[in-house]
C-alpha cells in the first residue's frame, strides 16, 4: 500500500470523513452515525501513525506536540469563542447545523459556513460533553489531510522545510481556534492541485485520479471553512481559466474545471438557506459598501494604509522574497504566472474589501490584515518550494 499512493489515499479518506460529518449534521443523522464517522476518522489517523511507524516521523512527532499545546491552552480570543466554538457548541446541543435559523446571538455571524464547527461538535458528541478546551482539537485535526498529502510531494529535507513554513506562516492559528490557518493551508493545496491537474501535466488526471478526488474534497472544504474560502476558490478558477486560455489548452481542460466546480454546490446550498431564512441578513444587504468605498477611493492616505498593512507584513515580504528567489533559481513561467496572478487578484480583492468596511479603516486593518494575508504568504512559500523541488538537484 505504501508504494501505491498511501499518503494520497489517507489524505482522501480523512478529508472525506470531515465532509461526511458535515453532511450527516445537515441531514440530522442519528448520533451513533456521527460517532462512528469520527471514530473511523481517528482509526485512519492511527493507520497513518502506525502503518510503517518510521515513515514520515517529523509530521507524526510535531503533530503530537501541537495536539498537546492545543489541549493545554485555553480559548479566550474573540472570534474562536464568539463565532467558531459557539457555533460548534450550538450544533453539539441541537444536533444539526440548521439550528442557526433561529438567528439567536447575531454577533456570532450565524451565516458563516459550518464545516469546522460541525467537526468540533462531533468530537464533543464522541466525548459525551462540552468543555472549554478539547473541542478546538477538531480544528487542528482538520489540518491533517493536507499535511499528510504534502508528504507525497516533499521528502526528507524538503518536508522539514515545508513544516518550517507551516510553523512560520500559520503559527498559533494551528491550535488557537481561528479559521485563518485552515483557510491558508486548504487554499495553498487547492491552488497546487489545480495547477497540477489543469496546467502542469497534460493528462495527469488519467494517471492519478486520486488527486482529482482530493482536489474536489479540498475545494469543498475550503468553501465551507470561511467565506474567504469561496472568494479564494473563485480566484483559483478564474486564474486557471485565464492561464489555459493564454496557453490554448482551454478546450482540453475546461471539463476538469467544470467537474471541479461542483464542489461549490454545498456552500451555495448553505448560502441559499441563509438567504431565504434571513440569517445574517446584514452580510447580504450591506448597503454601506459603496457609500464607504467610493469616498475612501479619493484619499491617497487610505491606499497607503492598506499597502502598509497588507504589503509590509513581515510574513508576506519574506514569502515574496522566497518565491522570487525560487523563480530566479528555477524558472517556470507557467507556475510563476499562476502564482502571481492568484496573489495579485486576492490582494486587490482584499484591498477593496478593506476599503469598503463599515468600520474604521485603521481598526479593521489592524485587527484583520495580518490574519488574512497568511493565505497569500503560505501560497508564495508553498508554490516556491514546489518550484524548487522540481529542480531536481539543488
Amino acid at each position: 500500500m505504501l508504494k501505491h499512493h498511501f499518503h494520497e489515499k489517507i489524505a482522501l479518506i480523512l478529508s472525506s470523513f470531515i465532509l461526511i460529518n458535515y453532511f450527516l449534521l445537515n441531514f440530522n443523522a442519528p448520533l451513533i452515525l456521527i460517532k462512528i464517522n469520527f471514530l473511523a476518522f481517528i482509526l485512519f489517523v492511527c493507520v497513518f501513525y502506525f502503518k510503517n511507524v518510521f515513515d514520515n516521523p517529523f509530521l507524526k512527532i510535531f503533530f503530537l506536540v501541537l495536539i498537546l499545546i492545543c489541549l493545554g491552552s485555553p480559548t479566550f480570543e474573540w472570534d474562536p469563542r464568539s463565532i467558531w466554538l459557539f457555533h460548534a457548541k450550538r450544533i453539539f446541543y441541537e444536533g444539526n447545523i440548521f439550528i442557526v435559523s433561529d438567528n439567536y446571538a447575531n454577533f456570532a455571524h450565524n451565516a458563516y459556513p459550518k464545516i469546522a464547527p460541525a467537526f468540533a461538535s462531533s468530537l464533543a458528541t464522541l466525548v459525551g460533553h462540552w468543555n472549554e478546551i478539547f473541542p478546538k482539537l477538531a480544528f487542528l485535526l482538520m489540518f491533517l489531510p493536507p499535511l499528510i498529502l504534502s508528504y507525497s510531494i516533499f521528502k526528507n529535507t524538503e518536508y522539514l522545510f515545508f513544516l518550517a513554513i507551516i510553523f512560520f506562516t500559520i503559527g498559533k492559528f494551528l491550535f488557537s481556534g481561528w479559521m485563518d490557518g485552515l483557510v491558508a493551508v486548504y487554499f495553498g493545496f487547492s491552488a497546487l492541485l489545480t495547477y497540477i491537474l489543469t496546467v502542469e501535466k497534460k493528462e495527469f488526471h488519467k494517471e492519478n485520479k486520486i488527486l482529482f478526488y482530493i482536489a474536489f474534497c479540498f475545494f469543498t472544504t475550503l468553501t465551507l471553512i470561511k467565506n474567504e474560502g469561496v472568494v479564494l476558490l473563485l480566484i483559483i478558477f478564474v486564474t486557471t481559466f485565464l492561464l489555459n486560455l493564454i496557453y490554448g489548452q482551454l478546450t482540453k481542460k475546461l471539463y476538469i474545471l467544470f467537474f471541479l466546480s461542483f464542489s461549490l454546490l454545498p456552500i451555495i446550498a448553505w448560502k441559499l438557506f441563509c438567504f431565504y431564512n434571513d440569517i445574517g441578513y446584514i452580510e447580504y444587504y450591506n448597503l454601506d459598501i459603496f457609500s464607504k468605498l467610493i469616498p475612501r477611493l479619493y484619499y491617497l492616505k487610505n491606499y497607503e494604509l492598506v499597502s502598509y498593512f497588507l504589503l509590509l507584513n513581515e510574513k508576506f515580504l519574506i514569502s515574496l522574497t522566497f518565491f522570487l528567489f525560487s523563480a530566479w533559481f528555477s524558472w517556470n513561467k507557467k507556475l510563476f504566472t499562476f502564482t502571481i496572478l492568484l496573489s495579485v487578484m486576492y490582494l486587490l480583492i482584499l484591498a477593496l474589501i478593506f476599503l469598503s468596511t463599515p468600520y474604521d479603516l485603521y481598526w479593521q486593518l489592524n485587527s484583520a490584515a495580518a490574519r488574512v494575508i497568511r493565505s497569500v504568504s503560505f501560497l508564495l512559500f508553498f508554490l516556491g518550494l514546489y518550484n524548487l523541488k522540481n529542480k531536481i538537484n539543488y
Binding site: 517529523f58 510535531f62 506536540v65 501541537l66 498537546l68 499545546i69 489541549l71 493545554g72 491552552s73 485555553p74 480559548t75 479566550f76 474573540w78 469563542r81 464568539s82 466554538l85 459557539f86 457548541k89 450550538r90 446541543y93 439567536y104 446571538a105 454577533f107 456570532a108 466525548v127 460533553h129 462540552w130 468543555n131 472549554e132 478546551i133 478539547f134 526528507n156 529535507t157 524538503e158 522539514l160 522545510f161 513544516l163 518550517a164 510553523f167 512560520f168 503559527g171 498559533k172 494551528l174 491550535f175 488557537s176 538537484n393 539543488y394
Partner: protein
Amino acid sequence: MKQVYLKILDGKIKKKQYLMKNRKVYFFFIALCILQLFYLLYHRSDFKFTILKNSFNINSGRAYAVSSEVIESNNILINNKINNFNMSKKLKNDTYFYQRFVEFNYPIRIKINSKYIFFLIDEEITNDCILYKAGVYLKIAKC
C-alpha cells in the same frame, strides 16, 4: 546521500553535495522546526500543564478562558435551575460581558422577557424586581 564526484584537484576527489541532500541542512531544518515549536509553546499559546492534565474534564480551563463574573453567572443559573435569563442595561452594554454571558451559558438562553435578570453586585436593582440570589460579582433578580 546523493553525491557527485566532480573533479580531481591535487590528487583529491572533490565531491559536490547538493544543498537539500546535505546532512547539515537536514539537521538545520530539524532544529528550526523544534525552535519554532518552542516559540509557539512559550510565546504564542497560553499553555498550562494543569489544563493539559484535565483537558477532557467537564469544567476544565474555565478560569483561564472567561472572567470570574461569567463563571459565576453560569454557577447561579445551574444551581438554581434557571433556563433563561436577561441582563441589566449596564451588563449588556459591556460587549465582553454580553457575548460571554450568551455563549458561555448556552444552552441556557438570554431572553428579553425573562423573569431573571443579572445585575453587577454594586448595581441597583430596578423597582419591579426583587433580589433572588447574590454572589461575589453578580446578583440575579426576579422580576
